[in-house]
Symmetry: C2
Subunit: 415 residues, 2 copies
């Protein structure tokens, strides 16, 4: 069971999380719970660091930030003990989360869960501080933003848990953002592959990395609300989602920027230099398209998208490359958005792409870039047209609660 | 170098502490610094615990409270790195502070300082989270209130430091509380034994336990202000304080309560039962006097003092004993105070006690209880008479800045 920052933000919510944990224990389960830092704790600690140092040392940043989750765990253990159950809180290090030495964005190398398993054997509820581990050099490390999801999935894999329950402030994964599409439907079942595409194309429910880890280790995730008891969304292997609909969800992002490089010399290594420079500048490049016009004197056009906040860095990183490679021009569009449809069922349906394009055309929406995978079609469009596009696609593929596929209880769907 | 909570309370003070640490490093010293939690951090964490649980689990309390010092250390390390020096922060566990398993009041069993010494050898400044360690069961423990002083002294002993500097918001140890006695003198030199008597009779500069540890391991303590550069008070072995004055200081407390038990049967084990019950109730009994009147039918009178805040608990703990032992009556005086004179020089001067009593008599102050050690005389008096008593004794023994013993620079005094 993993509880995010909003689910442990104050004493009342902490006690509610404690009661949910105890309820699972009393239902006969052995429970390991991973907690995030309370509400704004991490932001407060970052502000403190900025007050004392312009460029805080990464090792010390980890020592600082790792305290927030420990506070949540200790408080929750106290609350559980008051409910008449035995609980023990463990730091990431005590829980056996061993990472590399990349401070502030460490990768998990190993999970040595013997302390957890012996506590479970002694009938204790185990609370683990999320988002952190201990490096091979015995220093405290953190896993980066959203790392608590990854902690939870990694522990679920290490102890062989039946399921990894992720409690958040939303009720599950939806067929589209309910704030844009009022009849968006809560999805009972999503495959790892679909969830990966959704997480990387704008759905914020689960952290991308934790879904990767879950897929690689076969950990079933149940994504559900910490504020009501109903079932949420189960993220499972594809074999469990055989009877899946053609399309699962429409996802979107309004925080994109598009960069086009015109007249890129078509020589080996050009693309490697461009995207190498962007990677060195920590620009998170998403969609990449290269197009080599026929008879254009062996010159290509390269376009890509970055999060809008990275645009300035991307332009700076590209300046020397443009001169070096003799690129003719750079063109940027900071007000871009992206709309995607995701669904494992579309693999064998070549008509899906055409339907997407026709739907957008009918709304008068121009498509700037297209990128596809076997289970996803993404279109970069103008930022202000994103809500219209989402609603149109959601309706066209009949994804709403009134659509062709009625919601089934999770138990049945999982068969 | 140990910095208390007020010395690291905000970003400005943290940076000032960082500059002081760096100054010592640049003067050629290898530095280990112990930091307390910032300002009210510990109180805030205790309040959080009380919000979630009426009786917080001690193990979890330690997990919770130990975070405050880690935050101070990480922030200070960042500030030092910004000043162009290499600093590394360590938790109590990483620093090798091994304790017993008595959560919230653990005792240090061993200090395995190899990680500190190797960091020092790599030219790093080492910052250690005070007040905490790791138990023999691999749990985080805390050393109780004021435990950071003990951490500092223990580390000084383990690494063989020249001196353990304790930085506080006062300039050193004074011949009396300067708020009561305006011409109180800062003492350049105090022996461990004197400091122990002073700490246990009301002086709040150093924590009693840290002075005990320093005496047992021969650690020289330099108690000084974190806000100015002047020398403070050196606490050293008695051999270094040979030319000491008769009396060193007057200390006092206004937070005492006195309890008298009348008609206690003079049978073996009566005192053991009384004080055993008080210990079980965690009442901190200070002065104990037993007086067996001649010819009183083998009945004794037993009096003792407790901190005023413990009086109610003490009375409750004694109720069953009073009935059991057939004690005739219990008499309490909640408005008590204590005034003490301390000085290694008084050992060979039997006239000191008489002079104390005469001085108090001249001021019309009645003495309720007297307790002596070879280097201390304490008198329990009425609470509201304490300031008068302190001023009278300070003047009678000529302890002021205008007194017989002029202040010497620390360097000379330490010879």
């Amino acid at each position: 069971m993993k509880f995010g920052g909003t689910s442990v933000a104050d004493a009342e919510r902490l006690k509610r999380a404690a009661r949910r944990i105890v309820a699972q224990r009393e239902a006969g389960h052995r429970v390991v719970a991973v907690l995030s830092a309370r509400g704004k704790t991490t932001d407060d600690l970052i502000r403190l660091a900025q007050e004392v140092s312009a460029t805080p040392d990464p090792r010390e940043m980890d020592m600082l930030l790792s305290t927030g989750e420990r506070i949540s765990c200790a408080l929750c253990a106290m609350a559980i003990n008051d409910l008449g159950h035995k609980a023990i809180s463990l730091t990431g290090s005590q829980a056996g989360i061993v990472t590399d030495t990349s401070h502030t964005k460490a990768r998990i190398l190993d999970v040595r869960a013997d302390r957890i398993t012996s506590a479970l054997a002694e009938d204790q509820i185990v609370l683990v501080a999320g988002f952190q581990g201990v490096s091979t050099s015995r220093d405290v490390t953190t896993l980066g933003r959203g790392g608590s999801d990854t902690t939870a999935v990694a522990l679920a894999a290490a102890v062989g848990a039946d399921v990894c329950e992720i409690y958040t402030d939303v009720a599950g994964v939806f067929s589209a953002d309910p704030r844009i599409v009022p009849d968006a439907r809560k999805l009972p079942l999503v495959s790892f592959e679909e969830m990966l595409e959704m997480a990387s194309s704008g759905a914020k429910v689960l952290q991308l990395r934790s879904v990767e880890y879950a897929r690689n280790h076969g950990v079933r995730i149940h994504c559900r609300s910490s504020f009501d008891d109903g079932p949420g969304t189960l993220v499972v292997g594809e074999q469990e989602t055989m009877e899946h609909a053609l399309i699962t969800a429409v996802t979107h992002s309004t925080e994109e920027a598009r960069v086009s490089l015109l007249g890129v010399p078509d020589e080996p290594g050009a693309a490697a230099r461009i995207f190498g420079a962007l990677a060195d500048a920590n620009c998170n490049v998403d969609m990449i398209i290269q197009n080599e016009p026929l008879g254009a004197g062996r010159q290509a056009e390269v376009s890509f998208t970055v999060p809008r906040e990275d645009l300035r860095d991307a332009q700076a990183a590209l300046q020397p490359i443009i001169a070096d490679l003799g690129i003719a021009a750079i063109d940027t569009e900071p007000e871009s958005g992206k709309v995607s449809i995701v669904g494992a069922g579309m693999k064998s349906h070549p008509g899906v792409a055409a339907k997407v394009f026709a739907t957008l055309a009918r709304e008068g929406i121009n498509i700037d870039m297209i990128s596809t995978s076997p289970i996803k079609i993404s279109c970069v469009i103008r930022n202000d047209q994103v809500p219209t596009a989402v609603r149109a696609l959601h309706a066209a593929f009949e994804l709403g609660a009134g659509g062709i596929e009625a919601e089934r209880p999770i138990g049945e769907a999982a068969r």
